[in-house]
Symmetry: C2
Subunit: 492 residues, 2 copies
């Protein structure tokens, strides 16, 4: 039935899809039914991000920006358009990004020129850094900006996962030494871990293979999470840029001895809209979304249950409780729509609201019925100290989500000794962990075999430590001595 | 002396310009010295918004978004690019905005097509509204988005005042009736008034003349503030769109009787980057910026004053107080740079930090020296309850700014009975208030005379009430019976 008709006839919107069986359908349907995004915008690859997702993503921005600022970053707004000539300054960078650029035509005096809509902002920011940085006292320079970037994606676009305009933060930092830059990479990894922890999304922090680095970087680190269909998805990445860009853009500083040196740089790019894709996919269930308490736009939904006789008293009670909760900073809403309580239960479960209060005649006595979205249990809570109780319940719910997801993620990583093991792992929606000759350039041939014959991608080695190879210690592809333990999976 | 040299030689940056005497120099210099924006970005009309201004503007966004959300608005993110065909749907709108559009070239399958970088989002949002709105239960629909827009300005650009990319919020609302839409216009005026009150910027809320309306609107209301050079500057405007766009985009709803009607629409566009221009210009003085306490990125700067003997104790005291203040949510910073206290005083006065604590040996006893940026007075405050004291002092400082600015603004509005009066008013950097035949289309000829002969612009009549004409009650230009009292001034 067309959605228009459904709405007009006041029929309840049903949702019941097992994400582990048919993730693709689950994902498309929940994006539509929960009104997360609208794909009907009449420009290929562009979508409308609707309020229910935007309110969650704004909260994610808050978490990230607070963490960045506490670590000494300050926000700036750089132009969205970049001169063609800037883009060309770092050779590998331009090669990597040029095919993806949307070009804007110059007008008036600039007729005939063209400007890039930023696909990323290195080439907008670094010419300014070259003007701003003079001496060691100007370092470290730690600046981020929140906003969108544009990339002409030729791969299939999917809402939140990949679109031609997406929302992120990009932090671009300059240091006096390699050591400090490497410390920043660790700090970026911590910021990522903090956010992912808050959102209950398990991740592997990997160092990407040489052949899969960011265009222009020395080293790339990225957090990979897993989708229910077994695809690995790249989440925040951080790049050790070394002095490549500093040399291309002339970012020099005088050290204490008065000697001029190039700065060391890092950049870090958490894509908020893409993290949202993992957030809903990892946490949701067959009834719809489950939003962690900490980011839910509505943390507590109150459903009044009344007859004509009890209506006034019940509504009053709902309002009192709602006021008490909102006063304590718990985002609470009363659903007064003219539909049955059952339909409201269903609707808000689908929307992922973590806590539900059901308030009827029985609840007037001071014992309130609380429903927990994640494990679908009901309990009685006292009206006294209800804000405190619900805050605690909300945080416990988030902790349960984390535990459940961590367990699933851990079980999804399988040690593989043969190519056949890898194939089986990938087919059963898991991540293969195996010995590999190298993630330097000499491993690229074996990675090509993985891609061609096993339909998997070598995502890299753990960022946190050099893992020891296991069993025979030989590369699972070429049989030579393995120098790395890598993680292999399907990807988008 | 070039800035680079100044910095390298550690010379103190001096600032001492009377904004009432030479506003243009004051403005350019403070934008540069306080590091509010950098105009050296190599794309005409585009500037880099630097951290010191961005932190203030982020706070302004917070104030606006909180107010909008409390009044039932929800945030969304619509695409930055718009199909050519969408833009063409409302005839007056396309006529108004087409010359200002930056065009993006289609690629791949879309080779040969062109897309507009949004100059404003009506034509991106309303096709979606037509899909989303079905019946009266979907109304009101109140959505806003924060972000930037792009306009190919041919007038001279000035940082924050006018540039080819600027930052704003646009709220686009739909209602079932004209009455509700008009109520929303009043609500938008209140939101504007709340923000401007917080920022201590006096404004006149005016209904714009027919010939100066937003392209496609029935009526336009705007808040005008005044710059120290006597130019009026348009701040947030709100538009009663009527049903023009609803008809162009087919935004229909079924009412309770099942009858299909077009919605009534409003849109509201507070340009945060432009309000910032008024904020600094109205509040600043010859020593630099004065930032209201409520939006200052650093609300309290602590300057330690010590000898080698007292250093440890003084620094400890600074840290204790800084911690106590930050804990209470007062943004506090200790300046530990290796320059003299006097130089630090000067620097932070120039940056506009509202409160300064000077902590030396004398202050170890518990009596702390507080300096107030606006009236440059020093006083002793007790270390006990210092957070409470400074919060109070901060809010009082904001109140003093408001009173001072309101007084100046009130004195800047002059009743004019003749064309010569108007000319004199404008020449003395004031706003002329006078009788005028009409702000409907039949007044346009007289407005042209004002523009040509008096170098002034008819900005409109009070939005809040119909003012009575005064003295002879005749239009100051044509001498016919005046139907309006209007405000005339120079503009950007």
């Amino acid at each position: 039935m067309a959605k228009k008709e459904e709405k007009e006839q006041g029929k309840k919107v049903t949702f019941n899809i097992d994400k582990d069986v048919n993730f693709s359908e689950w994902y498309s349907d929940i994006v539509d039914k929960a009104e997360l995004a609208d794909l009907r915008y009449n420009l290929k690859g562009f979508i409308v991000f609707r309020p229910w997702s935007v309110m969650v993503m704004e909260k994610m921005y808050d978490i990230l920006e607070q963490d960045l600022q506490q670590r000494g970053h300050v926000p700036a707004w750089f132009p969205s358009l970049i001169q063609d000539e800037n883009l060309k300054k770092e050779a590998r960078h331009v090669e990597g990004f040029s095919p993806e650029v949307f070009w804007v035509q110059g007008k008036g005096e600039e007729q005939g020129l063209k400007f890039a809509m930023r696909p990323t902002s290195e080439t907008a920011m670094y010419p300014m850094y070259a003007l701003w940085i003079r001496g060691y006292k100007d370092l470290p320079l730690k600046i981020y900006q929140r906003g969108q970037v544009w990339r002409y994606e030729t791969k299939a676009t999917r809402p939140f996962i990949r679109s031609r305009e997406f929302y992120w933060i990009e932090a671009h930092d300059c240091f006096a030494s390699e050591e400090e830059a490497r410390k920043q990479v660790q700090e970026d990894i911590e910021i990522t871990a903090n956010l992912m922890h808050a959102l209950a999304i398990p991740i592997l922090h990997l160092k990407r293979p040489e052949w899969d680095k960011f265009a222009g970087a020395l080293e790339t680190y990225a957090a990979d999470s897993l989708m229910p269909d077994g695809r690995m998805i790249q989440q925040p990445s951080t790049h050790l840029l070394g002095q490549n860009f500093a040399k291309a853009f002339g970012i020099l500083f005088k050290d204490k001895e008065g000697k001029e040196n190039y700065v060391w740089q890092t950049c870090f790019g958490p894509a908020v809209s893409r993290i949202f894709a993992s957030l809903i996919s990892v946490n949701g269930d067959s009834k719809g979304l489950i939003l962690p308490f900490i980011v839910a736009p509505v943390q507590v939904i109150i459903i009044p249950i009344f007859s004509d006789q009890t209506k006034a008293k019940v509504v009053k009670k709902c309002e009192d409780i709602s006021k008490a909760l909102n006063k304590e900073g718990i985002k609470t809403k009363i659903d007064m729509k003219e539909v049955s309580p059952g339909e409201k239960f269903f609707f808000w479960e689908m929307k992922g609201v973590p806590l539900r209060l059901e308030i009827g005649e029985k609840e007037l006595s001071g014992k309130i019925t609380l429903f927990l979205r994640d494990n679908k249990t009901r309990m009685q809570v006292s009206e006294k100290n209800i804000a405190e109780t619900l805050m605690k319940q909300g945080l416990e719910l988030d902790e349960r989500l984390r535990k459940k997801n961590e367990k699933w993620f851990k079980e999804s990583i399988v040690e593989c000794k043969t190519q056949n093991d890898i194939k089986k792992a990938i087919e059963s929606k898991k991540i293969a962990r195996c010995n590999f000759c190298s993630i330097n350039n000499d491993g690229e041939k074996c990675a090509a075999v993985v891609e061609k014959q096993l339909a998997g991608f070598v995502r890299g080695s753990l960022a946190s430590k050099q893992e020891k190879t296991f069993s025979d210690g030989k590369c699972v592809i070429c049989g030579k001595k393995a120098n790395a333990v890598v993680y292999i999976g399907k990807s988008y």
